[in-house]
């Protein structure tokens, strides 16, 4: 209805032609091999230096675009990140099932609120933008963000989390405008893309801090991030951040949508650890695949975040967890936002295992894999999988030659 699918035959023709032309050049950097832009184009819309070539990569498990031209999960290059904001063009991308990124005309887009409300309402984008709004910085992380021993880089182990400034209307404002009936206890939020991804969200969360967002990092949402409208449910896993948001229905039960169903577990404890992201941190420098030039001073840098609160403190170990030092927070520590930490480090040239762990404002502590295994009374072997969202400590091994490797390998 509001979404236009790209013509698939046209797409395949186009991609075949591209593959013949560019191939490896396209993979290395998006500007390489293309004619330089005219100065008036660059005055109108700036671009990064041709010497900066940090790029996203698709998850190894399923390539994007796949054989149908669908986008699945794409990883952000955390190893190159600074500060706490992910540039919109590098923000991780994930879709339900694998999906076309729809080409939605915002003039045609609508948001409908109905179900157990006194007054069903339908809004145009122009109407939503007339309403009071807020801007907040929040991360989004996919539940599939799970380090494996085979992963080489922090992009592969942790690249399904990103953080941005979001602007939009508080969902509570819209729900009050519609008049929520007392029997309502959940909302079903749904997108306009061809699979119409939908999730059940507790009404308490919807009324607390959820936002209906039309902007990200100071500009309209990018199409891969839900243009023209997406839900932001701070701290909840990525699948709840409904893109291309077109409908919110107030209901009296968990609806068990396809996306809900994909996350069910019989154990209430695992379920409790699945929907919100736990306190989590990772060192982004030095991290897997990077190279230290020799012994001497290095500033260890990393990110910490929690789905339930702000980050209170971060500790870093350079000896595999035998001793821990307090890291410095180098950015504002905002609720449900990436927080940058740093620690001075003089590398003596010997093999070192670097790790970080964080504590959030509720006092919840990021666990090691060993602590998680102990909690569940399971052996910590190669098959051990952290139940729920994996927020376990990530080790990086700095070898004597300065090369950095995944400590889980």
């Amino acid at each position: 209805m509001d979404s236009k699918k790209p013509n698939r035959r046209g797409f395949l023709r186009g991609s075949a032609a591209l593959a013949g032309l560019a191939g490896a050049k396209v993979a290395r950097g998006q500007t390489q091999g293309m004619p330089p832009k005219k100065i008036d184009e660059l005055i109108a819309y700036g671009e990064r230096s041709r010497f900066v070539n940090s790029i996203r990569v698709p998850v190894a498990e399923r390539h994007s675009p796949d054989e149908f031209g669908l986008t699945f999960h794409v990883l952000t290059p955390l190893q190159d990140s600074s500060g706490i904001i992910t540039p919109s063009s590098l923000f991780y991308t994930a879709t339900h099932r694998g999906s076309y990124v729809p080409d939605i005309d915002p003039k045609e887009h609508r948001l409908m609120i109905h179900g157990m409300v006194d007054r069903p309402l339908i809004f145009t984008m122009e109407e939503l933008k007339r309403l009071p709004y807020v801007s907040r910085i929040h991360f989004i992380e996919c539940l599939g963000n799970r380090a494996r021993p085979t992963h080489k880089t922090v992009q592969e182990t942790h690249g399904l989390t990103s953080c941005a400034e979001w602007t939009g209307v508080p969902l509570s404002l819209l729900l009050k405008e519609a008049g929520v009936q007392s029997a309502a206890s959940w909302i079903v939020a749904e997108g306009a893309e061809e699979v119409k991804g939908a999730s059940s969200i507790p009404l308490a969360k919807a009324m607390d801090d959820c936002m209906v967002c039309y902007a990200m990092n100071g500009e309209p949402l990018r199409p891969q991030q839900g243009f023209p409208l997406r839900l932001m449910a701070p701290g909840f896993e990525g699948i709840y951040q409904i893109k291309y948001l077109r409908r919110i229905k107030l209901v009296d039960r968990y609806y068990m949508t396809y996306d809900d169903y994909g996350h069910i577990n019989p154990d209430p404890k695992v379920t409790a650890l699945t929907h919100e992201i736990g306190p989590k941190s990772v060192i982004t420098f030095p991290s897997g695949g990077q190279q230290l030039s020799g012994p001497g001073f290095y500033e260890i840098s990393g990110l910490a975040w929690s789905g339930t609160a702000a980050i209170k403190s971060v500790e870093v170990s350079t000896d595999g967890g035998r001793s821990w030092k307090s890291a410095e927070l180098r950015s504002p520590a905002l609720p449900m936002a990436h927080t940058r930490f740093g620690l001075h480090w003089s590398w003596n040239g010997q093999e070192s295992i670097l790790m970080s762990r964080c504590t959030d404002a509720l006092g919840s502590i990021q666990p090691t894999r060993a602590e998680v295994a102990k909690y569940w009374n399971q052996p910590l072997d190669g098959n051990f999988r952290v139940p729920g969202a994996d927020n376990s400590v990530q080790p990086w091994r700095v070898a004597a030659d300065g090369s950095v490797h995944n400590g889980l390998a």
Binding site: F72, R97, K249, M256, T308, S364, P367
Partner: protein, 200 residues
């Protein structure tokens, strides 16, 4: 003393009444009322109670023919397994559900939807909204009932001559009906799981 307390309680009660009445009145008056047709066209999330299911019916036999004519086997495998899209019919018959479905489309027996989903309504819902790839939303209610019946029958959940409709679909006894825990009641500023993993 007592009277003062009563007065405070009464004033508080009146204030709260006013407040709740106030929150139930639109403040901004922006947006319009959707028409019943607009609501019906978009009201596609199907409750486990089946509340939103449209009239219609379909059998496994009709579903088997549709499975071929709509090209489902092209992605899901001719018999509902072995394709590069999620397994619909376990190749070795019904098997116990795995504790956790995979987030990527699952091409294995344990996560077939008829085996793992606690409610048959979820299957109807997803075929209706998300299938077939590239022609989503093009199936009629009868076709969706028939395809749902076919998948349930092939997974040994219903009989071949059972006709699925809005009345009986929500009542299908699914093998994993009780195999899930509801997300805990959400509360602002509460830890996900108190005491997890341990207090250091």
């Amino acid at each position: 003393m007592v009277w003062r307390k009563v007065a405070i309680v009464a004033i508080t009660a009146i204030f709260e009444l006013c407040q709740s009445a106030w929150t139930q009145t639109p403040t901004y008056g922006v947006g319009r009322t959707p028409t019943p047709e607009e609501i019906r066209a978009w009201d596609i999330a199907i409750s486990p109670t089946g509340k939103e299911l449209p009239q219609g019916h379909g059998s496994a036999k009709e579903g088997a023919a549709l499975f071929v004519s709509k090209g489902c086997g092209g992605c899901h495998g001719a018999s509902g397994s072995g394709g590069h899209a999620p397994t619909l019919v376990p190749s070795k018959g019904a098997q116990p559900a795995m504790a956790m479905t995979c987030l990527a489309p699952c091409v294995n027996d344990s996560n077939a939807m008829a085996i793992h989903s606690p409610f048959a309504t979820t299957i109807w819902d997803y075929i209706n909204r998300g299938m077939p790839l590239g022609k989503e939303g093009s199936l009629t209610p009868n076709e969706v009932y028939a395809l749902t019946a076919y998948i349930l029958y092939k997974s040994n959940v219903v009989k071949e001559d059972d006709v699925m409709d809005a009345e009986n679909l929500p009542k299908v006894k699914m093998p994993n009906r009780d195999g899930f825990a509801l997300p805990p009641a959400w509360k602002h500023g509460a830890p996900r799981l108190p005491g997890y993993p341990q207090n250091r």
